[in-house]
């Protein structure tokens, strides 16, 4: 019998709240974190997209100036979320050789990389900061969290585009089940609201261009959805072997019952139109957690609000859950905070854990005319989840054909 893994700490910094209590309150109220960008570079480069969902609390309001100087913005968000999760777990004594980190990113230190390139071209090589490489490397956030907490059982960085944060949970579960660690700080961080990624995502027609109405631009499942909204931030969760948590009398939010990762091997960016890879991921996570379709009451969907992405996820959910999918409360929380890329899975894991713990599903906003081809029961007003034993799933899919699913069960 595999070791049972539970969640004992939560942290987040997002466009709808700079900490978990604020984010959760807003997620149940239904707010938009998307706003018009006031940066001079929007006009300077004539970007086709003029808005994004920035973190509601700037990192420099939380970290000291000197601390922040040595971190890429993505690492700043990751450290903020990890510290909140760690404090929330109330762990005071730990064998640091048994504490690991699995902290993901989709893109990594893009601000640092491109700032250094600008400096090289404008001022020459002497002015390129000596901290440039450790700040831009994608493992920078995992390394910073490991340093901060003294985690010596390994610091890992799953990178699978927008599935990265969820894949970190998959890895964390494995590390504890296999006995390599007792506690793992999992998460994801991203800070890519920079003109280059905005231009690149825009070139591939992935971003919404609702420039005159940013708050209503992210509209998963709506007939008039036209792309995702770039978000930023981080989420973090403390995973712990159940016996370790019980021994110290910890507050346990929920069990991480099962996880899975699959690959489409279909197309580098387009999802398999039949959702076959996603279906296999859903079934594998349910098998891993010994979960029947009827146990599932809630899904935090990947649902980015792109015309092509939302429907295959529905197809996969119906294939994995059968007719029971009609009884499942589905939340598309990217409607509120945009798409946090490699951080999205971690933030959505935090929301899914809280949904099970608090028995409340977060809201989907901006759903005015539901796409008739996606007849899901979408949560658009306050919704209580049933009493008794329940399971919630959270899906993440990334460019490259990555599919990752986690299953959260009440304790």
């Amino acid at each position: 019998m595999a070791r049972k893994v539970v969640i004992t700490g939560l942290g987040a910094t997002t466009p709808i709240g700079g900490d978990v209590p604020t984010m959760w309150k807003n997620a149940l109220k239904g707010v938009s974190g998307a706003h018009t960008l006031e940066d001079e570079w929007v006009a300077k480069y004539d970007l086709p997209v003029h808005f994004a969902a920035r973190c509601s609390t700037p990192a420099l309001e939380v970290l000291s100036r000197v601390e922040a100087k040595r971190m890429d913005p993505s690492t700043q968000f990751g450290v903020i979320a990890a510290r909140e999760a760690w404090a929330d777990s109330s762990i005071t004594e730990i064998d640091h050789d048994r504490l690991a980190v699995a902290f993901a990113t989709g893109i990594g230190g893009v601000w640092t990389l491109l700032d250094a390139w600008d400096t090289l071209r404008e001022k020459g090589p002497r002015r390129v900061l000596p901290m440039t490489v450790p700040m831009l490397m994608p493992n920078g956030v995992a390394a910073a969290v490991s340093l901060d907490l003294g985690a010596r059982a390994g610091a890992h960085t799953p990178v699978s585009a927008c599935a990265s944060g969820t894949e970190a949970m998959h890895l964390g579960l494995d590390l504890i089940r296999s006995g390599k660690a007792d506690v793992v700080v999992c998460g994801g961080a991203e800070a890519a609201i920079h003109p280059m990624p905005l231009a690149a995502f825009s070139s591939m027609q992935a971003l919404s261009r609702r420039n005159d109405d940013p708050e209503h631009a992210s509209r998963p499942y709506d007939r008039d959805r036209d792309g995702f909204v770039m978000g930023e931030g981080a989420g973090a969760l403390v995973l712990e072997a159940e016996e370790h948590a019980i021994a110290r009398g910890a507050r346990i939010y929920a069990e991480l019952a099962g996880t899975s990762v699959t690959a489409d091997a279909y197309h580098i960016t387009a999802p398999d139109p039949e959702g076959l890879g996603a279906t296999r991921a859903l079934k594998a996570a349910m098998f891993d957690g010994r979960i029947q379709a009827e146990d599932v009451v809630h899904v935090n969907a990947h649902a980015t609000s792109t015309p092509v992405g939302d429907k295959p996820e529905y197809t996969a959910l119906r294939a994995a859950l059968g007719a029971h999918v009609d009884n499942v409360a589905v939340s598309a929380t990217k409607s509120q905070m945009g798409h946090l890329l490699g951080a999205s899975g971690a933030v959505e894991a935090v929301l899914t854990v809280l949904a099970v713990y608090e028995r409340q599903a977060p809201l989907t906003i901006n759903l005015e005319n539901q796409d008739p081809e996606i007849p899901l029961d979408v949560v658009t007003s306050a919704r209580t989840l049933p009493a008794g034993d329940i399971v919630a799933l959270s899906n993440s899919f990334g460019f490259g054909g990555h599919n990752a699913v986690i299953a959260i069960r009440n304790v």
């Binding site: 000291s64 100036r65 100087k69 002015r127 000596p130 901290m131």
Partner: protein, 81 residues
């Protein structure tokens, strides 16, 4: 030409910006590594910022000889002369 006092004050500001150390802690007899706990990466950032501030060039091979704040002040002062 900056006086040695002005160079010290300017260096102290650069060290404060990089490390958060109080400017009063940056004294002539203090060792960058032993007393001020400045690692090699911070030291290079301080050197490059000092080059820009004082309009001098501090070659990479010279940096290891700048053990104390006073060494750096003297080097910058001579380089400006």
């Amino acid at each position: 030409m900056a006086s040695n006092e002005e160079i010290l004050a300017g260096l102290a500001e650069i060290v404060n910006e990089e490390t958060g150390l109080a400017t009063e802690a940056v004294e002539l007899d203090k060792s960058f590594t032993e007393d001020l706990d400045i690692d090699s990466i911070s030291m290079m950032t301080i050197v490059v910022n000092a080059e820009e501030k004082f309009g001098v060039r501090i070659p990479d091979e010279e940096v290891k000889n700048l053990k104390t704040v006073g060494d750096a002040v003297n080097f910058i002062s001579n380089a400006q002369a």
